[in-house]
Subunit: 297 residues, 2 copies
């Protein structure tokens, strides 16, 4: 087995480590809102939440919100106050990345939001997060593909200096996928809407990992955007420090170099699989790669 | 929620019913060859296999082959003799579909085969089956996509008269994915190799279902083949009775009509998702569809 294949498989396993034996899944409590299971809470986080009996009601294998919080607004307000206090105490590192950006909480993407939650806190409750990632690419004269990659700014809260897809961003509450796509293309890479509109929806990449900051069940809506060969993205809002156009074979090699933000490596791997850069007769883990990129949440 | 979305989701759940609560997974024994877990055996099948103690050794939660069968050839020969006898007894309906076609048995596609097994028997042991499916399509003058579909012959052993992808077939032991692709294109639809060579690998569709004939963990290697607008497939080996070229919106509607062989509906759904015919802002179950098409085996 090639070292590349093994490293790529390991990355996919790591990005789905919540499903591996020995993960915190075995000890987690379900996070239940209005009778609906929407996330996971570790025993450690549950013990912190137990300090707020006016808001949380731990019972059996679940943490729920008290019954008096009977609307999305009431739930969001009460949870927000708890999170502000925990942020002030500075005991939960993930809250240092406070964004002032609200994510909707629901069991499935198509469900009505049961409440809204500060983005930085979602990993404490293991609720699903949604985003948009854009594979920007150009077709070479010989038919080969080159991909645009972004290098994240060194001042980013998460994964500073790592390689990213051409544009990407989280889905804030109330924003459509299309709106987020156009917004991130414009803000991050100065791609005008008339060009970004050409991006084609090509599926999702979904996975669940855990680390010291919590549990991350994530679904990225993936778009392919073919760009003219003379097009160059420009640095927009400062979240990116540079852009590179690399041939697909070089991108393939770099996926396992540790240079990529891991979920962006997954999105680029999905691109290489869908565009036949990686083929079933030469890639031993072809099926494992495809399945590992699209796990149920 | 639209009836179409609900029906499509139900089809995906049915094609992954081995993972649903209440499936035979709860009572199945592992099928273990040379210390490797390669499949699943229901208690009913296990009791039949227990009649052959020279070949099978049931212990704890597993059915294994006796240690004396210490090579792929010996295992395949011994199992083959058992299957021939069971076939003569005519008590297992799946063996009525005997193909004289051997499938390789291994834990992962990239592993060396541990033994070979008659195709019709694989569902008794719940071993993984691999195949190739080809989405044939043409681009209309207005940029829209039309897909070629095949109607299976009324004399097919499985799913007679149902709609199928342009070409498809199982991966016999020792055959590469590419070889199987070219062979099925030629045999089923008279597509010459020079044209079939243009087919592009675009991923896999994988799922595990069970029915009265056993357990089916399957992985289909999927190819897209763009065809000239004046190309028409021709009936080849008689496995197909007719071909149709349908606009993508009509294909979408037909996926839930019951007219499709279910796994071919999955392959066509994957095509519609990858080609932006189905979009995330208008399809409520977009993420569930993508994940349901690519389940780990």
């Amino acid at each position: 087995m090639s070292p590349w294949s093994e490293k790529m498989l390991q990355l996919l396993l790591r990005m789905n480590n919540f499903h591996l034996p020995g993960s915190s899944l075995e000890t987690c409590l379900r996070f239940v809102v209005a009778g609906v299971h929407v996330g996971w809470v570790t025993p450690n986080v549950a013990s912190i939440l137990a300090r707020f009996p006016d808001v949380f009601w731990p019972h059996r294998d679940a943490v729920t919100l008290v019954a008096a919080l009977d609307s999305a607004d009431r739930r969001s307000g009460a949870l927000g106050a708890v999170l502000e206090q925990l942020r002030d105490e500075d005991s939960l590192t993930c809250l240092r990345g406070w964004r002032n950006e609200k994510y909707a909480v629901m069991a499935r993407y198509c469900d009505s939001p049961l409440m809204y939650m500060e983005r930085a806190a979602t990993s404490l409750f293991g609720v699903k997060r949604y985003g948009v990632h854009v594979n920007g690419y150009s077709r070479d004269v010989d038919g080969g593909l080159s991909m645009w990659l972004a290098r994240r700014s060194n001042s980013k809260q998460t994964y500073p200096g790592k390689l990213d897809n051409l544009a990407a961003g989280g889905l804030a509450a109330g924003s459509s996928v299309k709106h987020t796509l156009l917004k991130e293309c414009e803000e991050e890479a100065c791609i005008p809407a008339c060009l970004a509109e050409e991006a084609r929806a090509v599926g999702t990449v979904s996975y669940t990992y855990e680390d010291e900051e919590g549990i991350f069940p994530e679904c990225q809506f993936v778009f392919d955007l073919e760009l003219p060969t003379d097009f160059r993205p420009q640095i927009g809002d400062g979240e990116v420090q540079d852009f590179y156009l690399y041939p697909s074979d070089k991108v393939r090699e770099m996926l396992v170099s540790g240079e990529f933000k891991p979920n962006c490596a997954m999105v680029a791997l999905d691109f290489l699989l869908r565009h036949s850069v990686i083929q079933p007769d030469s890639e031993p883990y072809y099926q494992e790669f495809v399945a590992g990129l699209h796990r149920p949440l």
